[in-house]
């Protein structure tokens, strides 16, 4: 039993921290609402196939083209004819808008999380190296960061997709590359502010190796800015992906993606404004939600900013 005591104490402390954090965070009603929205969108993304089958939202049925929201149409699908209500209307190929939005949510969700994870892994590692080791590493990494930052983000992404070819994975690379410099800077700055404090010195005195010091002592102390940045980045990543898809450099139709839905809608907005508003509002709400959660997290995690 003596063994389990420290662990249970640790867990209690964690639980206390979390409940304290939650009390802070839940004061921000908008952030909580956004969290719920993101959660709902995540559920929709996960169960996209249950709600609408992928084949159905990607196959054309031209006789149902440009239906208004709520209109019914006869759909011929999997060698059967049945009546289908187009809740948000249909696009120029007669595909269900709501269904495409639902599957687009899945794509956006994957892009948001995957690009942030990639950028965090690479940028975090390089930033930690620059901040902790200093010297030549620092100079070299920061110079390269400055160089990358002086190329406009969108051009960098476009050039990467153009160079590597148009595929889902290359889109992820293009977006995460543009986020890496941000992570390098944040992680480096946080590490520099922590690494000369007494507890790090103490760890070094008892003979801890660099890797242990960084992982056990430094990283837990710099998570707040990284978490905030990552939340905001998920939003901007979704925005970038839709922008690239809009330019025809990301996810190409018939695959449903919010940006390419808008791109396809361009010529028809005159006759069918619902084509314009549904995907646009989907992007807007998602990005807004992540921004609000990020702001809420910043207020809750950073006591210095408490008002």
């Amino acid at each position: 039993m003596t063994q389990s005591l420290p662990i249970s104490r640790f867990m209690k402390r964690q639980a206390k921290n979390i409940s304290q954090f939650w009390r802070q965070f839940s004061r921000n009603k908008l952030a909580v609402a956004s969290l719920i929205l993101v959660f709902v969108f995540a559920l929709i993304a996960i169960f996209a196939d249950v709600l609408y089958s992928y084949d159905f939202v990607t196959s054309n049925s031209l006789e149902n083209a440009l239906l208004k929201p709520g209109e019914k149409g006869i759909v011929f699908y999997q060698e059967k004819e049945f009546e289908h209500t187009f809740i948000l209307g249909s696009d120029n190929y007669g595909r269900d808008i709501l269904g495409r939005l639902v599957h687009g949510a899945r794509v956006s969700m994957i892009i948001g999380f995957a690009t942030v994870a990639m950028a965090l892994a690479i940028g975090g590692f390089l930033g930690a190296l620059a901040g902790y080791k200093g010297g030549l590493f620092d100079t070299l990494i920061m110079r390269i960061t400055d160089i990358v930052l002086s190329i406009p983000t969108i051009l960098m992404s476009i050039a990467i997709v153009a160079a590597l070819g148009n595929s889902f994975f290359n889109l992820l690379i293009a977006i995460s590359t543009s986020m890496i410099p941000g992570y390098i800077r944040i992680v480096r700055a946080s590490i520099i502010s922590v690494k000369d404090q007494e507890f790090v010195e103490a760890a070094r005195c008892i003979g801890a190796r660099d890797l242990r010091i960084v992982i056990k002592h430094i990283i837990p102390n710099i998570t707040s800015p990284v978490i905030v940045q990552s939340t905001l980045n998920i939003g901007s990543s979704i925005l970038w992906a839709s922008a690239l898809s809009f330019l025809g450099l990301g996810i190409l139709p018939p695959k449903p993606e919010w940006g390419n839905m808008l791109s396809e809608a361009r010529e028809f907005i005159q006759y069918a404004p619902h084509l314009l508003f549904a995907p646009g509002l989907a992007i807007l709400l998602t990005v807004l939600a992540y921004n609000l959660i990020g702001d809420g997290l910043r207020d809750a995690l950073d006591p210095k900013l408490k008002r």
Binding site: R143, I144, D146, I147, V148, S150, I151, P152, T153, I154, L155, I158, A159, I160, A162, A163, L164, G165, G235, L239, S242, A243, F246, L247, G259, L262, A265, R266, I269, Q270, P273, L276, G280, I283, L284, V287, L288, N291, L292
Partner: protein, 325 residues
């Protein structure tokens, strides 16, 4: 100050080298073949090989990069190189790359300047009002507006504006061209939306911060007019971070006008770059991206110099740091 500026200008050189190297490498691995592009699909293998060697494409990567920097000698495809301000000719239009940049850049500059001016004119007063009465109804409305502005996709704003003002109300045209002012309204509004949101939030938080300082209380206690307190005491100090953000925004407006220019079919640098990337027109891409990178860095430099004029403390802090070194 002069030495500082000179040092910053010299620091441009490695940055530019890095930018060109990164973009050059990206273009090098791009699966496109300029020789094939020049000849068409039906060229004989011999002609193709001749073309590749004429264009210098059979040389190793670093040699080609050196050509790009210091020039390449050939009666048809030769150019003087980036160092001498000659970036060669476009593969597609056969026009001088730098010439095309210089004709399109002013168009982008007009758009970006218009957007920044609009953003500043609206965002700073709104930010001040929000900060004077924080958490009031007015503040809430503007905060929501700022949040929306920062979360809306640029291309969507553009499409909504086109749908409303060009297709339905028919006030402004959907296509923009540099000579016609009314056609510039929609792209400028589109482009300024995001910057406006960012500058508004920055002004608000910076003003809020300053308004809580002791010297503001002192000024009020002295019985000073509230207008004087806000505009003479608070605003000048609150503007420093706003200038930083505005400078950064201007830089990204110049480079980020890509989507806006594309949607409004506006002949700016952004749409030239995107077209060049679509057409794998390497010299044009390299030239334009380098040009944007230089402008971006110069703007950052100007912003840094501007600090000294707004806040004398920064200038003195800088000279003190130099003395210590």
């Amino acid at each position: 100050m002069f030495r500082y500026i000179m040092r910053r200008v010299l620091m441009l050189v490695p940055v530019l080298l890095g930018v060109t190297f990164i973009v050059f490498s990206l273009m090098y691995i791009t699966p496109s073949d300029p020789a094939q592009m020049m000849l068409g699909a039906n060229a004989s293998p011999a002609a193709y090989r001749q073309m590749r060697s004429d264009m210098g494409l059979d040389k190793p990567f670093l040699v080609q990069y050196a050509h790009f920097l210091f020039g390449y000698k050939h009666p048809v495809f030769g150019y003087k190189g980036l160092v001498f301000g000659d970036l060669g000719r476009s593969y597609v239009t056969n026009r001088n790359v730098f010439e095309l940049i210089l004709t399109s850049f002013p168009n982008t500059l007009v758009l970006a300047t218009g957007a920044l001016v609009l953003a500043l004119i609206l965002a700073i007063p709104i930010g001040i009002i929000s900060a004077i009465k924080p958490y009031s109804a007015v503040d809430m409305v503007f905060t929501v507006f700022a949040l929306l502005g920062a979360s809306m996709p640029v291309f969507w704003i553009a499409m909504v504006l086109i749908y409303t003002f060009a297709n339905n109300l028919r006030i402004f045209p959907a296509m923009a061209n540099p000579g016609n002012f009314s056609s510039l309204v929609l792209p400028i509004v589109t482009l300024s939306m995001y910057s406006m949101a960012i500058i508004m939030r920055m002004t608000r938080s910076s003003m809020l911060d300053v308004m809580q300082q002791d010297y503001i209380r002192t000024a009020r206690v002295k019985g000073m007019d509230e207008k004087v307190v806000i505009f003479k005491h608070a605003l000048r100090n609150a503007l420093i971070p706003v200038v930083t953000v505005a400078g950064l925004q201007f830089g990204s407006l110049l480079g980020g006008a890509v989507l806006t220019e594309k949607i409004f079919s506006y002949p700016g640098l952004g749409s030239i770059m995107v077209d060049a990337i679509y057409q794998k027109d390497t010299p044009q891409i390299l030239g334009s991206v380098c040009f944007v990178a230089v402008t971006f860095t110069i703007i950052n430099l100007l912003v840094d110099i501007l600090y000294g004029f707004i806040d004398p403390r920064i200038k003195s802090a800088f000279t003190a740091r130099k003395k210590r070194k």
